[in-house]
Structure formats: C-alpha cells, structure tokens
C-alpha cells in the first residue's frame, strides 16, 4: 500500500497491512518531526507533494525493492500539510521471512524516497522559514 495523506499516520493500521503467515520479520521506519535543525528551533513543518508523480515514484521504489528482496508486504505512507513536533511524516513498513531483508529494504525505500520523490518540506522557525535543501 502506497499513500499520501493529510491525516495523522496510524501505525496500528499499517501494522495490520503488514501481516502475513510467512513473515518472520517486520521493520517499521518512522520519520518524525524533530524540534531542531542545525541548532535552530523548529516551530512546525509544511509538507507539499506533487501527488500524482510522488505516488508513481514511490511505486517505482517499492517495485525495485521487491525485485531486490522479495517482500511479503510493503507499506509506504507519506503525510503532507502542517506537521507539529513529534508527528510522523513518513512510515515505511516491510515484512519478509528473514530480518536482514526487512532492514535492507526499509532502508533502501526511505533513502530513495528522499532522493527522488517530489515532496517538499518547509521548516518554519520563530524568525523565518526555509525550503529544506532548496538553496545552496
């Protein structure tokens, strides 16, 4: 399951989607809004997505992970809109028979999402704001 949502990400529902009788390992990665970037205090984040393309790029990443590791289940949910500190921005869940594949695949998916998927975040500080990575 691959989704972009403005609602809070529900870990329990994601976990249900990952269940499979052949699964011996589930790795669940959560990207969370933290209170600081390079020692600047973050007030909140704004995430924006080119939804259609973001979904199709995430689909490519999951397909490639499937080719490399033969996943039993894979869930990718990215949130957009306003996110406060402690909220989950992205959830990657992978179920495999053995644990090395679950770790490798989860890490591949999140690393690649950060490189290719058209989603952008703006950090809002008390005294300004910045689109992350946008300028040198």
């Amino acid at each position: 399951m691959i989704a972009i949502t403005t609602d809070p990400i529900d870990v329990a529902s994601a976990l249900k989607l990952l269940q499979a009788d052949e699964a011996g390992a589930i790795d669940l990665f959560l990207g969370v809004v933290r209170d600081k970037t390079q020692e600047r205090s973050v007030d909140h984040l704004e995430y924006e997505a080119y939804d259609r393309m973001a979904i199709s790029e995430m689909r490519k990443i999951v397909d490639e992970a499937n080719r490399r590791w033969k996943l039993l289940r894979c869930v990718v949910i990215h949130r957009k809109g306003t996110l406060r500190i402690g909220e989950i921005a992205v959830l990657i869940g992978v179920a495999t028979p053995h644990r090395a594949d679950a770790f490798d695949a989860t890490r591949y998916v999140i690393d690649t999402i950060k490189q290719t998927v058209p989603i952008w975040k703006k950090e809002i500080f008390s005294d300004g704001e910045v689109w992350v990575n946008a300028t040198p």
Partner: protein, 82 residues
C-alpha cells in the same frame, strides 16, 4: 503555430513566482531545456535554486525532451520528503 503551456510549481518555485502554475509561450518542437531557459529569464530568482528538474506527464525528463501542448509539465526543485 504558437501555443502556451501551463507549468505546475511546487515548494520554493511556487514561493518565488507567487503562483502554483505559470503559463509559458511554447513553440512547436520546444524542449525541456528551452522551457527552463525561458522560465529563468522570466523569474531570475529561479537560478538561486540548487537544482531544477522538469517532469513531463509525471516522469523526470531530460533537457532534450520535446514538450507537446497537451503534456502535464512541472518544475521539480530539490526534493526533501521523508
């Protein structure tokens, strides 16, 4: 024949232009590279961005890719999801 194409804008490019889409005059046979050049002339601050890619119909496109008037075209500034 001259037409124009609407280019979708996200993130910092939307902030720079103040719009979520801009209309760019397009001649037959125009390529992604031509589009980028035209946009950077129109909005010089786009050159401040670390890198600027173009998606055509939801796929990353080379600067050689020819744009047709029915294509969905988007500017893709550096992504920062996750």
């Amino acid at each position: 024949m001259n037409a124009s194409i609407s280019v979708l804008l996200f993130g910092i490019t939307r902030d720079i232009t103040g719009q979520s889409a801009v209309s760019v005059p397009l001649s037959d046979g125009n390529r992604v590279g031509d589009l980028l050049q035209r946009l950077q002339q129109q909005y010089p601050r786009l050159s401040d961005i670390r890198s600027l890619l173009v998606a055509v119909n939801g796929e990353y496109a080379d600067s050689d890719t020819v744009i047709n008037s029915k294509d969905e075209v988007a500017l893709i500034p550096p992504v920062s999801g996750g």
